[in-house]
């Protein structure tokens, strides 16, 4: 009987363990894992409309409403209004029978009543409106609108963020659409496959990075040896590698260049040459360190930047990759994060667009605290690149971005692509001595040129005062 009791106790603990696992896992799924999957479009609750309460407002960082539900006295219903129209279509998104953007990812916050009991009671007793939680974003609506207007009819994308916090100040993708009547134009939007207006190019568009990738190549070389800083190459406008030829922009001969100068004038020959010397491995390491081939955690859907080159590429692929062509593709968000890391001593901050939740009673909760995602280069490396990128803007290809009162740093790019008409890139930050704004800009099919670089100057001028 005594032994039986002992066995019994073991069996009890076995069962008890099962129940502890059950309760623990249940709370884990329902409370902690929930936010990862409840905004799934297959969750029928997403499409649910609660007509009796006012869906939360989405504000910009200064408290300007971007998306707001307005009560219509005649119909007795709320309608959703997007005050900035197409400018925020890819970020704030839209809310109708289907949802996208923040309207989807924060759907349940925007439907949640804070202190529901009190609100329900005052609603019944005093007829006061039920107000769900609102969201405060990190966007600056004026900046966003300015960028959106500047892009005009061009296809392109801009990501502007604060390098020290990761807060996204603006994220624009064009062409866009008006979220106020997305349902009516839905057929046209999905039919327009040549412009893909529904695609958020800023986070999902995959473009060849062009010369902006030279930043990665420079890091790869300097990681192997800092002697590459003193390496001098004579550029004749054409460089030959085992029968493969690489040309500088317009066949221009840059003469004797070191790394600083080569970066400033974007000399293809120089970067192809040092890549031939160091080989594929350092480039692969540097690219993967800078978030290629890895996912970024972000509120909105992102594409993964691709760096498919293997360890033993043909010489042609190797030198093309070194100057940002080849098969490498990057998202504007990823390039903006690289610029931000250089501005922030090598540390990438996790990008975010939601600053906090504002309850129906006006108190703020769940404020996002900036988090560092990873260190993609050491501080010394960042400082070296900073010097080079300042030179790009002061004396090199980046001069259209230069401002009289603010020191801008950055790198231009011209990306050859399958359409045959080049894209124009710019990545950079300002003020260079104490950066508060970092950005990446791509404008499609400009045929090269300085549009992206000029726009960068305008944005820095607008955003920094």
């Amino acid at each position: 009987m005594k032994e039986l009791h002992k066995n019994l106790r073991i069996m009890f603990w076995l069962m008890a363990l099962l129940f502890i696992a059950l309760g623990g896992y249940f709370v884990y799924v329902a409370a902690f894992e929930a936010s990862d999957f409840i905004a799934n479009p297959r969750n029928p609750r997403v499409a649910m409309v609660n007509d009796d309460m006012r869906r939360g407002t989405i504000y910009d960082t200064n408290g300007t409403p971007i998306a707001e539900s307005i009560f219509d006295e005649d119909s007795g219903l709320y309608t959703r209004q997007y005050h900035f129209g197409a400018a925020f279509a890819h970020t704030v998104g839209y809310s109708g029978m289907s949802k996208a953007g923040l309207e989807l990812s924060r759907n349940f916050t925007l439907y949640h009543l804070n202190r529901e009991l009190v609100q329900r009671a005052t609603y019944v007793i005093m007829g006061q409106e039920l107000r769900a939680n609102s969201i405060i974003t990190t966007f600056d609506a004026d900046l966003q609108q300015m960028i959106f207007n500047s892009l005009g009819d061009s296809r392109g994308a801009v990501v502007v963020l604060n390098p020290t916090t990761g807060a996204v100040l603006a994220m624009v993708s064009t062409p866009s659409f008006d979220p106020n009547n997305v349902t009516e134009q839905w057929g046209n939007l999905i039919a327009d496959t040549s412009n893909s207006p529904l695609l958020n190019r800023a986070a999902q568009g995959l473009y060849p990075p062009g010369s902006t990738f030279k930043v990665v190549t420079a890091v790869a070389a300097l990681e192997t040896s800092s002697h590459w800083l003193d390496f001098v190459f004579e550029c004749t406008g054409h460089a030959h590698f085992d029968g493969e030829t690489i040309q500088c922009w317009g066949g221009q001969a840059h003469g004797l260049v070191d790394m600083h100068r080569a970066m400033a004038v974007s000399c293809n020959g120089f970067f192809a040459k040092i890549t031939e010397e160091i080989g594929a491995r350092p480039i692969i390491d540097a690219a993967e360190q800078m978030l290629f081939n890895s996912g970024i955690e972000f509120e909105l859907v992102v594409s993964m930047p691709q760096f498919p080159m293997g360890e033993h590429p043909a010489i042609d692929e190797l030198i093309q990759t070194a100057i940002g062509q080849g098969r490498t593709t990057a998202t504007p968000l990823n390039m903006a994060l690289i610029a931000a890391a250089i501005a922030n001593g090598g540390i990438v901050m996790t990008p975010y667009i939601v600053d906090g939740t504002l309850s129906g009673f006006g108190n703020v909760s769940g404020a996002t605290s900036p988090q560092s995602m990873m260190q993609i280069m050491d501080a010394q490396m960042a400082a070296r690149l900073n010097e080079m990128l300042i030179e790009v803007v002061n004396t090199g290809t980046g001069t259209p971005a230069a401002l009289s009162h603010i020191q801008v740093a950055g790198k231009t790019g011209t990306a050859q692509n399958e359409t045959g008409i080049d894209h124009s890139w710019f990545i950079g930050y300002a003020p260079a001595e104490n950066p508060t704004v970092a950005l990446a800009i791509i404008i499609e099919n400009t045929g090269g040129g300085t549009r992206a670089t000029q726009l960068a100057g305008q944005i820095f001028n607008f955003a920094i005062d």
Partner: protein, 435 residues
């Protein structure tokens, strides 16, 4: 509005739950209050500002049952365990509310089964007074149990020979129900208490090697038939109860672990044999890519429990009716959706309480027979709850097994009430022994 009343109702429930252990009256009141509030909310339509009389009528019946039930039970079973009794009625009440909210016509059927089950369970003391020497019926239990399980098997084969399907197959491909003379029932459910009674008798002394082999083979045979009928959930239950009783009696660790090893091996074989099992496992391991078909039920279940946060959507405001066979398989998620995960956790604790009380009772028993019986019934009920809830929340693969006392399923609710009745009777016996 509905939510407000509901919140208040739950607050009272939680308050009264505090002193539930010492004063069962609190639990009784909590059950009654829960049912009153729940049916009031279900009956009241806050848009049309009207009250549905049919709901009130059903609520009235339920209320009558849960008010009178515990009083009658306490009187009939001398020294019934108050915690077990009240927990049973509370779980039943939650079940009636949840099923009624999803499908009112199923709820009335469930209610009738529960009342009949309760009525039959009141006869248990009298039955055991007639058959006071339970251990002498060991062979009878075995024959009945094996017969009931075999009947489906035989009927299945017979049906296919004569061309009339006598066994209905459920949506998981499991052959569970037998219809005879227009009454359909689930023999594997009825076999459950007989199986526990048989094992308790057989293991009341440490069995000899020969006897052990016999019991093992007989049990393995029954589990095997259940597996062949693809009733894998029941097979798992029978296996677990066997292992628990076997270990408690013999304390043989090598054989206990060996049993689980054999089970693991058998699982691998079953995985290879049954395509529907492979689908189940695939849906469990990686539900999101398969959510259009294979894991539709599971992902919808996860959406239901996770969408609304700690206090749920409020009764009547969830969307659990979306899930196929929600009343039977996913009832836990439907409850957690509308009552919130805090309530869901307390709900899990109710089963844990049965486990705690049950094993405590078994520990007090002076006769091994009673100890094993108590443990067997307790494990049957609580392990089944574990498997059902665990399947709903993706802790383990979904089996389509019922949640005892709560899920829709006539045979299941009937048999669980009987098992709890026997536990109550055992409690009385143990108290008598103590004096």
């Amino acid at each position: 509005m509905a939510y407000f009343i509901f919140m208040a109702g739950r607050f009272i429930f939680k308050e009264s739950k505090e002193d539930a252990v010492t004063q069962p009256r609190g639990l009784w009141a909590a059950t009654i209050l829960f049912a009153i509030f729940a049916f009031a909310i279900l009956a009241f339509d806050d848009i049309a500002m009207s009250v549905d009389l049919q709901t009130l009528l059903f609520g009235g019946f339920v209320l009558l049952f849960i008010i009178a039930g515990p009083v009658v039970a306490m009187r009939v079973f001398k020294r019934a365990c108050p915690i077990m009794t009240h927990t049973m009625f509370f779980l039943l009440a939650i079940g009636f509310v949840a099923i009624y909210r999803l499908n009112p016509s199923l709820a009335s059927a469930q209610f009738i089964f529960a009342v009949i089950g309760f009525a039959v369970s009141l006869l248990i003391p009298a039955i055991f007074r007639i058959f006071s020497q339970i251990e002498k019926l060991e062979k009878l239990f075995l024959v009945l149990c094996a017969g009931l399980i075999g009947i489906v098997f035989i009927a299945d084969i017979l049906g296919s020979i004569i061309g009339i399907p006598l066994v209905s197959i459920d949506e998981f491909g499991a052959a569970r129900w037998v219809s005879i003379f227009g009454i359909s029932f689930q023999p594997s459910e009825i076999a459950k208490p007989l199986f526990v009674l048989y094992l308790a008798c057989a293991f009341r002394f440490k069995p000899s090697i020969g006897k052990l082999v016999f019991i093992g083979l007989a049990s393995a045979g029954m589990v095997g038939i259940l597996v062949l009928q693809r009733d894998l959930g029941s097979a798992l239950m029978f296996f677990m109860v066997f292992m628990v009783i076997f270990y408690t009696s013999t304390g043989s660790r090598p054989l206990f672990l060996g049993g689980f090893a054999a089970f693991a091996a058998a699982s691998v074989v079953a995985y290879q044999l049954f395509p529907h099992l492979r689908i189940r496992v695939a849906a469990w391991l990686n539900p999101w890519p398969l959510m259009a078909n294979e894991s539709f039920q599971l992902t919808q279940s996860l959406f239901a429990i996770a969408t609304w946060g700690p206090f749920g959507a409020g009764l009547g405001r969830g969307m659990a009716n979306w899930i196929p066979v929600v009343e039977r398989d996913i009832i836990f998620s439907a409850i957690a959706e509308e009552f919130g995960w805090v309530f869901g956790l307390l709900f899990i604790c109710l089963y844990a309480m049965i486990l705690l009380r049950g094993t405590d009772m078994a520990r007090r028993a002076k006769r091994p027979l009673y100890a094993l019986m108590t443990l067997g019934f307790t494990v049957f009920i609580t392990f089944q709850a574990f498997v059902s809830i665990g399947g709903n929340i993706r802790l383990i693969p979904m089996t389509g097994i019922t949640l005892p006392l709560v899920s829709y399923g006539g045979s299941s609710v009937f048999i669980t009430i009987i098992m709890l009745g026997i536990l109550n009777w055992l409690n009385g016996q143990l108290r008598e022994e103590e004096e």
